[in-house]
């Protein structure tokens, strides 16, 4: 195959060369082709020339497509730089090749163009324009404050629980200083400053295992030696993805799901996600039949499924998995010989009458099944401490634990934070009080919010846990499509000034569903929110 050296400049000459534009050049291509078609030139020429042309066509198409991407992105503002950076948001002119193709095509090398970055960069640049991130940015620019900015945008798109922060704050006010500075004992600076085991201090693992047990109302006893601590649940999910699947393999993920999985599971790992849609007719409950169908379809496409990732309680709907469903899930995983990752990060934030059952409860089975189930947990939701970065991988699989422990070197929890939380979590009375009061407040706020939406004619799926209402606003969208949904999202953001998450970000297959986070609201805020939504819902009904 001839290696054509392309110059970096996107001059029209290069394009002419590719398309064979210009009369003379065209004839030089057509005449031999005619010969090939007419049987002259033989089999060899008859295959090489079409192959070569096909190759050049593919390459031209790829470059052209990436040129368009570059044009769309070159308007992103560069950073203000007092140090006078030479580049100002200019993207590399090399095509942003995906990881599988980076060595398959000849790479243009010119010493004069800007230096290139990896294929991973382009992926995230596109993701940044999704409503999820646009909404977060807009709130940052114009955040609602009851006193200083009453016309600002109210944030209902970020899963933060502010309902019980006062409890944590109170505990810290009483206890924080002594914890960090205790000299002469184990927690002096020389103890916490030095290198620690990357997967967490033993005392912290004990404290976290104890907390997890309390969260499940002591139904499960978690073994600290099977706990691997990470800087948040985000790296916990990524580490498991790296450990359980190879590049090009896939996980089955029931939808609607947490928007962040696209980043956590796929971005750096090269692993795919196969969405398994759940339907409103089933209240978006998990269907084993749907999983089975998705697995078989993947197999036909030559895609190897390595596991299923479930969230329980689920995000965004708030469903709890029943014991029966968990057993069926385990049967399915056993039959296909795949892993189950259960993200239980909202286990302590249940607020309904239904009882939460952790998959850990059924991990007390024979060895083989134990080895395929892995739990993800964290303190960001249940303890309202996302800033402190505490995540957990819990597994009975020794190999997974061994690999995960080594990988936590890239995502270790800061030692002063571990020390602080050891004290907090060891205070059993505080933990119990917190869990109970937090659940009550979630229950109350949820009920008020759902009632508020109901008055506007907006129904929600009954949720048993988490910080969200999963609301059906399909009656308010103009066209029953993702486009219609995004139009409504835009109205809610810019007219009602409320940032909510459209179902498409959660990969919901049915348009018109929206995710509202209510845990940042006080009782007084709720009528303000519903009034604002009413502005938009009224106009939508009229149309």
């Amino acid at each position: 195959m001839t290696q054509t050296r392309y110059s970096r400049s996107r001059s029209s000459d290069t394009e002419k060369e590719n398309t064979g534009g210009g009369g003379g050049a065209a004839m030089r291509v057509i005449v031999p082709l005619q010969g090939v078609v007419q049987g002259r030139g033989g089999l060899v020429l008859g295959s090489i020339i079409p192959c070569a042309l096909f190759y050049f066509l593919q390459f031209y198409l790829k470059r052209h497509r990436n040129d368009l991407d570059d044009q769309n992105n070159s308007n992103s503002p560069g950073l203000n730089s007092t140090t006078g950076s030479a580049s100002s948001g200019k993207l590399a002119e090399l095509p942003a090749l995906t990881r599988n193709l980076s060595r398959g095509l000849p790479s243009p090398r010119s010493p004069r163009g800007p230096v290139s970055v990896s294929g991973r960069v382009s992926g995230i640049v596109k993701g940044a324009d999704s409503p999820y991130y646009v909404g977060l940015r807009r709130v940052k620019e114009d955040p609602y404050d009851v006193l200083s900015n009453p016309n600002g945008i109210i944030q209902l798109g970020l899963a933060e629980n502010m309902l019980s922060l006062d409890l944590v704050k109170h505990w810290l006010a009483e206890n924080a200083e002594q914890v960090i500075l205790r000299n002469g004992k184990e927690l002096s600076i020389s103890r916490i400053a030095t290198y620690q085991p990357f997967d967490g201090l033993v005392e912290f693992k004990v404290a976290v295992a104890g907390f997890m047990s309390q969260v499940t109302a002591k139904a499960v006893s978690f073994d600290p030696s099977q706990v691997v601590l990470t800087a948040g649940a985000t790296p916990a999910i990524e580490i498991l993805s790296f450990c359980l699947a190879d590049v090009g393999n896939a996980f089955l993920v029931p939808t609607p799901c947490y928007p962040g999985y696209d980043r956590d599971v796929k971005w750096r790992t090269g692993v795919e996600i196969i969405h398994v849609p759940c339907r409103s007719a089933d209240n978006f409950n998990l269907s084993i039949a749907a999983l089975d169908q998705a697995f078989n379809q993947a197999k036909k496409r030559g895609l190897k499924v390595r596991g299923i990732i479930i969230s329980n309680p689920s995000n965004p709907v708030g469903n709890l998995l029943s014991l029966d469903t968990l057993y069926s899930l385990l049967d399915f995983a056993r039959e296909k010989n795949i892993h189950i990752v259960s993200n239980e990060i909202l286990a302590g934030s249940t607020h309904g009458n239904e009882e939460f059952v952790s998959i850990a409860e059924i991990m007390d089975l024979d060895d083989v099944d134990r080895k395929r189930v892995h739990l993800v947990y964290g303190l960001s939701k249940d303890l309202s401490l996302p800033g402190f970065r505490v995540g957990v991988i819990y597994s009975h699989n020794e190999e997974v634990l061994a690999a995960a422990k080594k990988l936590t070197r890239f995502s270790t929890i800061s030692s002063p934070t571990q020390c602080l939380l050891i004290s907090m979590l060891s205070d059993a009375k505080f933990v119990q009080t917190f869990i109970t009061i937090n659940r009550e407040r979630l229950q109350r706020t949820y009920a008020l919010f759902v009632a508020g939406l109901k008055k506007l004619g907006i129904k929600c799926i009954k949720s048993s846990g988490g910080f969200y209402c999963w609301a059906d606003m399909s009656g308010l969208i103009r066209s029953y499509s993702e486009k219609g949904e995004l139009e409504l999202w835009d109205k809610l953001l810019n007219i009602a000034k409320v940032n909510v998450t459209p179902g498409s970000c959660c990969h919901c297959i049915e348009p018109g569903w929206f995710r509202f986070c209510f845990a940042t609201l006080t009782e007084k805020d709720i009528p303000i929110v519903t009034d604002r939504i009413q502005k938009v819902s009224e106009t939508c009904k009229l149309n």
Partner: protein, 438 residues
């Protein structure tokens, strides 16, 4: 009796079972020996002395004093950011006050000879994460990074394991004090090409680990020219920049860029951390400073996998923005490290051992090649085993740092008390005396 049907074991990924974590190498085997029989001043005087861990324990008292006198760093008081904001703060931009404090700390270390923009700082949980993150961003799987030897053994794991990127060594040797030459860089580049590996960048550590020496200005200029010439990235890992024994001897790549008017800056990225200079590896604080907007934006988003606890950010923002503390710390830390270095060099010289002339870091680069039976890696490892098992010192063999010349060893001196260092030197002296007699 139930029939036992063997169930197929559920499989793991190649990454999970890979040996790229490197924990089977001598570098880590020595740590295991230490863990099993650690030296203690009173309770285990015949134990193994750990001289393979580059940790800075000489200035803890300064940190303790600061924390005692400034309780606002450890609590959230009524000022901003209050506790609520802090606990909820998971923005991957990082606390602005902390980034400003880091930028100013980095400027102080360089004697004000370079300026750092807080908005170009990306925070990661340690330099380990920073180096891996940059590798993910700058190179695709199968590509290569050029790294001068000898280098930090952890790079084999941190830069290659999950990224799928290769390391091609730039061979340096004692003939010119292990300095990096244009010829060596070119040879490495050609070597990569011949293996069909696409070179995406060159990564230098300045001051160098394990050499314990800063890179000279002329070499830095040549390295930058080389990167421009080949149109590749330049990563400068400057985590030991605050541990130079004299402030004037360290030249940062940032200074080179400053003199060039920041031309060609978009290919340069600096890694920094508080693990070595401030002796706080447990806090997990690393940064990427990049002159490339796209890299900054991407690194920031990718840092979601490795954020620093907001509590720690708040604490360190208070500490590092206290000019009185930071200036005094940098100055005192340098003096103490310099003193330790003199002590170990003198002690080794008395025992008849020469070291590479160093001016930075938490270790020295010791030459034991005269003691080798044969100038081979096997002889070096045999000698290393003797030192570990008989002299009871854990030091790092040059081969684990990919040094092309056998017989060199890295010896850490800052992770112990002066008394322990004396004991270690006595043991070495005794060992050398014995060998002379035999």
């Amino acid at each position: 009796m139930a029939i036992e049907i063997e169930q197929p074991r559920v499989g793991l990924s190649k990454v999970a079972v890979s040996k790229t974590h490197g924990e089977d190498s001598p570098y880590f085997a020595g740590w295991k020996a230490y863990d099993e029989n650690p030296y203690h001043e009173t309770s285990n005087q015949s134990g193994v002395i750990q001289m393979g861990l580059a940790e800075n324990q000489v200035s803890f008292d300064l940190l303790e004093k600061y924390l005692e006198e400034h309780s606002e760093a450890s609590s959230w008081g009524k000022g901003t950011p209050g506790f609520r904001e802090n606990a909820l703060f998971q923005d991957y931009h990082g606390l602005k006050s902390f980034r400003q404090a880091m930028a100013s700390f980095m400027e102080q270390i360089r004697g004000g000879r370079a300026k750092f923009d807080p908005d170009r700082i990306v925070l990661t949980a340690g330099a380990t994460a920073a180096n891996e993150l940059l590798t993910f961003i700058l190179a695709d799987p199968g590509d290569a990074l050029l790294i001068p030897t000898p280098y930090y053994p952890g790079f084999d794991r941190d830069l290659r394991w999950r990224t799928g990127v290769n390391i091609v060594p730039i061979h340096c040797d004692s003939s010119n004090n292990f300095q990096i030459t244009p010829e060596a860089m070119e040879a490495a580049y050609q070597s990569a090409e011949s293996m069909n590996l696409k070179v995406r960048g060159i990564l230098i550590t300045n001051p160098s680990n394990p050499l314990g020496a800063t890179i000279q200005r002329s070499a830095l200029e040549q390295i930058l020219d080389f990167a421009v010439n080949k149109n590749i990235h330049l990563v400068s890992d400057e985590i030991y920049s605050g541990s130079t024994f004299s402030s004037s001897e360290f030249i940062s790549i940032a200074e080179i860029l400053e003199t060039r008017g920041y031309k060609d800056a978009e290919r340069v990225h600096i890694v920094y951390s508080l693990s070595k200079d401030l002796g706080l590896p447990g806090f997990r604080v690393g940064t990427i400073y990049s002159y490339n907007d796209q890299v900054v934006t991407t690194a920031r988003r990718m840092s979601s996998f490795t954020l620093i606890s907001s509590q720690t950010q708040h604490l360190l923002a208070c500490m590092l923005s206290n000019k009185e503390f930071s200036e005094n710390y940098i100055k005192t830390n340098r003096e103490r490290l310099s003193k330790r270095y003199d002590m170990i060099i003198k002690g080794l010289k008395k025992a008849g051992i020469e070291c590479l002339k160093g001016n930075a870091g938490l270790f020295c680069w010791m030459n034991l090649s005269p003691l080798l039976e044969k100038p081979t890696r096997e002889s070096e490892l045999a000698l290393w085993k003797v030192i570990l098992n008989e002299v009871k010192l854990n030091i790092s063999p040059g081969s684990s740092c990919h040094c092309s010349e056998p017989g060199w060893f890295r010896v850490c001196f800052a992770n112990m008390s002066e008394q322990t260092l004396e004991i270690a030197l006595e043991r070495i002296h005794k060992f050398m005396e014995q060998r002379k007699r035999n």
